[in-house]
Each structure stands twice: as structure tokens, then as C-alpha cells.
Point group: C2
Chain length 295, copies 2
DNA sequence: CTGAAAGCGCTTACAG
DNA sequence: CTGAAAGCGCTTACAG
């Protein structure tokens, strides 16, 4: 009897129950090690609770994201989203979906009843700024991500504000959260006469681009310029010199977000959106040091 | 009329059509940059063809894989799978699924009518061996992955055979395809009196572990030991010294596999399973050099 | 050409 | 307590 292994049709059960037992997971770049870790954490929690994960990669493109959110309609009971851009159109797409949403690492304007799991971007960027100021740097630059993303804006604002408290005016170059974005911003920054003696790159991929640019230009770290990267990296302690970074939990962020989404689904909890902030941690290695005494 | 935005129920359509317009994608480790790239390539092709991607991460565990394949039953029209282990039980799980399968990077015993997209593991490992032999190395080691995986076995066999042709007997240490696996194997290898003068690590994560072990032991590269890694890395040219690697297309592998799966779904193509092999490419940087003259 | 009915494969509430 | 029927929301084949 049991050996005939009758398999009930999942699809028929979904139609009857009005649920799909699937969660959407929409990330800007699954090859970014941070988001890969978020995916791992989310998938693990979701599967543990009997949910499948429908993964979409938007390639940091609002257009692709718009398409993806339309296509996912009716496929999932809830959504984990790291939006490509912090804009109102995305909010409309989410409303049209009609399922609970938890925002991961990036939030949206007026998130209403959606939950968010962010990190302490302001604290991390401020710690980086203070570290550089304490070392004696006065010509400080930021390779910033897009200001219409949460990490881009919060890291930018806090880094600039913390330096301003010490009467230091930060030179800012912007780029996409990609290796090329960091590379191009760095080439602009170090093509100038008054190149900075210290720089923060706003995410892991931009840091790779910055390091590649400094390598190509023959600018030595930390002798000529001190470098801090936002986000740790597998090889960060094995590069030359070992990289000072702002670290944070990554898999945990995906796991926490997924638990919040599952809570929304089971409790039928309404209520206002909650925001969780995870800590950051400055890891000082050898890519930061005092500025060359040239004054 | 159109403005009411009536949204037909996807689930009801699936029940009627007998299709879900979803593809399963089961990988051992989504935080491994290689698999992250495979996921990106697969997701892109699948979405372009109107399919969603249900992602599962098995954490290199046959048990988790077994559960995942059971849970995915009835959810997908086809499956992309990089099996945790090359064993017959997995084949049974796949038969039970009853949908077309394309194997990615790792194959199974007697794959029958399933397609595979692999790389030229033998050619890559042989090129690495020849490079080390040409430099004059005679004490050569391999940090090997599990032999019950396709890349583990093929890289091992080819590397050992190519060295044997030059009358060189390779010292082999095995480990999981993880950073820790590479680290522990390297610690065993370099704890010996007759430590090798050259070593190949069988995948990207094991290479990180190897480099960390050499760093911890104070063994200098390439002065004391030459190092080659299988798979390139974002920071491979920025570490000290820049790493010699065996490179290959990664996103492409996921894209090609997905196209093969879509072909099986649309053509109702039966026929024997096809195997595609993608090329590898030895990139010589500075972590390999002649052995120290000590004879 | 248009419109009502049957059926996809379950679950659930109800009649016997 | 058991078993037949209704219904989830579509699509498709058929009757009018």
C-alpha cells in the first residue's frame, strides 16, 4: 500500500489551500559574497520551516526588479527583498504583490507595515571615520555607493558627518556597488593632485575595484594611502597588506529576515513594521596607518 | 476594464496545465563563488524563458540533498543539480522526481538520459601538473577534494597520472570542498619532514584554506612552495603573491545547463544524455616558480 | 462566434 | 465513523 508511493499533487493542494509554501528571495547580485551568504541563511531557515525559496537576481537594475516582482506574483506566500533602488515605484510593485514583505539590508521610503533587517551602517561608517581621524588623516575620501540605496546613503552620511565633526571635508566619488564602480571611482580619485591619504570603500565589491586601481596606479597601501573596506572578505587577511574592514554577520541577516517573514505568515500579525539593526565591527589589520609625514 | 488589473491565479493555471513553470536548482554551497556564478547564469536564462528558479542549498550533505529532492517534488518542471556525492542513491531520488534533470559540474554513476555540463577537469589538472613539472618540481602534492565527486575524482586522477608520466609520485591529502578542508589537509601536508615544493588545491575554497595554513606556518610562496589553485578568485591577482590558477567560465556553465534543460522541456526530447565539457585555462601568475635549489 | 460545462487533483464540510 | 459531493480558479473542448 504505502509502497506504491502515492504522491499527492502539490499544485492541487496549493489551489485548495490558497498557499504555495514558497518564499520569494530577490537580491541585487547573488555573486556578491554578502548576498550569497544572505541567500544561504534565508534558504536554510525557509527549508527548515517547510518553505521553498524562489530566487531572483535583479543585477542591481530597477527594471529587472520590476519585471521580477511582476513574474513572481501568485508564486509565493511572502517575499524577502533587497531592493535595487530606494524608490516609490518599488513600493507600488510590492503592494500589487499582496503578500507580506521583509526588506533585507536595504529599505524603502515609507515602509509602512513591512519589516526590515538592516545593519548599523551609521555606526560602522563612523567607526571607520574615527579610526582614520585617530591615525591623523585629514585628506580623507569616500568611494560611495548610490545614494538612493540604504547602505549607500547611510554609510555616506555618517562617514561625512563624523569627519565633519573633526573639521575634515570628505572627498566623495560615487559608483555602482560593483568592482567596476569602485575601480572607476578610485581612478577619478587618484588622478587628482590632492589625492587623499585615506579612503573608505562603501562595499566589498567596490573595495576590490579600489585595490585593483591602486595596484594598477602603483599607489602603495598603507604607505601612501590607508584603505578600509566595508564588509569582510574571505581573502582579506591574506592580501598585501591585510585589509582593515568593517565586518558584520551575513548569513544571520538572511536567517533573521526569514524568521520575521515566517512570523508574519503564521501569526497573521499585522501591526506596524519592525526594523532590526545588526551590529558592525571594525577589524583593524594592516591596510591603515598614519599618513606619510609630508606637511 | 484593464485598469482593474485582474490577476489570474497562477496556481490554478499550473493545475490545469500540469506545469509549474519553475526549475529546481540544487547546489552544494551557494557561498562558494563558483556556484554563486552558476546560480546567476542559470537564473538569468530561466527568467528569460519565463521560468522561476527554486533554489536549494545542500551544504555538501547527501542527507540534506535527499530531503531537498523529496521536498521539491511536484514543485518544478525540471531540475538543475550539482550533486553532493556521486552515488546511486541520488539517482533513485532523481527517478522519483520524474522530471528532466541536467547535472552541473558534477555527474552521477550511469547518468542514463540526463544531460551534464561539466568542465575539462582532466585537462586543467594536467596543465597544472605539467606547469609544476616544467618548473623542475619533483616533490609535488595535491590537496584533493572527495573522490566520490566528479571534480574531486577527475582532478585527482589526471593530476596524479600526469605526474606519474614524469615518474613523480604525488602526495595526496583529502578534504571537503571547504576552506577548513583545505586548511586541515595543508596542515597535515606541511607537518611532514619531506614537505612538498609544489601543491595544487582542488578547488577555490580549499585554496583559501591552503593559503591560510601556509600563512600560519610561515611557509613562503613561491620561495618554499609553489601553489596553484583550481578556480580563479576575485582577489587572486591582489594577494601576495598573485595566485596561479586554473580558470574556467562560471556563469556560462549555469547558463548552458539551463538551456539544455529548457530544450528537454520544450522538445520533449528523449534521446540519450549529452555531456558538454567547457574548457579550462591555466593563468600563470607569481605563486609558482622553480623549486629552491637544495639538492 | 459566443457561452456554459467539464475537469485538473486535491481538501473539507456534510450527509448517511 | 465512513463516503460522496462540492469547490479552489483556471483552461479547453463542445454545444448552441
Amino acid at each position: 500500500m504505502d509502497e506504491l508511493e502515492f504522491r499527492p499533487s502539490e499544485v492541487a493542494r496549493w489551489l485548495k489551500s490558497g498557499k504555495t509554501l514558497a518564499l520569494g528571495l530577490v537580491v541585487p547580485d547573488v555573486t556578491n559574497p554578502f548576498f550569497a551568504a544572505v541567500v544561504k541563511g534565508a534558504e536554510s531557515v525557509a527549508n527548515g520551516a517547510g518553505y521553498s525559496v524562489v530566487l531572483c537576481n535583479t543585477d542591481e537594475s530597477p527594471d529587472r526588479e520590476h519585471d521580477v516582482l511582476a513574474n513572481i506574483h501568485g508564486r509565493v506566500d511572502g517575499l524577502l527583498l533587497a531592493p535595487a533602488r530606494d524608490d516609490a515605484e518599488t513600493v507600488e510593485s510590492l503592494d500589487a504583490l499582496g503578500v507580506p514583505v521583509v526588506l533585507v539590508d536595504r529599505t524603502l521610503p515609507d515602509p509602512g507595515s513591512t519589516d526590515s533587517v538592516l545593519i548599523d551602517n551609521a555606526g560602522g561608517a563612523a567607526a571607520a571615520a574615527r579610526h582614520l581621524l585617530d591615525l591623523g588623516h585629514r585628506r580623507i575620501a569616500l568611494i560611495s555607493g548610490p545614494l538612493d540605496t540604504t547602505p549607500g546613503a547611510e554609510r555616506h552620511d555618517s562617514f561625512v558627518a563624523t569627519c565633519a565633526e573633526a573639521d575634515v571635508n570628505v572627498t566623495v566619488e560615487h559608483g555602482e556597488f560593483r568592482v567596476q564602480g569602485g575601480y572607476q571611482a578610485a581612478m577619478r580619485l587618484f588622478g587628482r593632485a590632492d589625492a587623499p591619504t585615506a579612503v573608505l570603500a562603501a562595499n566589498n565589491l567596490m573595495t576590490v575595484g579600489l585595490l585593483r586601481a591602486l595596484h594598477d596606479l602603483g599607489v602603495r597601501v598603507p604607505d601612501v594611502v590607508s584603505v578600509i573596506g566595508f564588509d569582510d572578505h574571505l581573502l582579506a587577511d591574506l592580501i598585501d597588506p591585510p585589509l582593515t574592514v568593517i565586518d558584520r554577520a551575513t548569513e544571520t541577516q538572511g536567517a533573521v529576515a526569514t524568521r520575521m517573514l515566517l512570523a508574519r505568515l503564521s501569526e497573521a500579525a499585522s501591526g506596524a513594521g519592525r526594523t532590526v539593526r545588526l551590529e558592525t565591527n571594525l577589524i583593524v589589520r594592516s591596510s591603515t596607518g598614519p599618513p606619510r609625514g609630508e606637511s
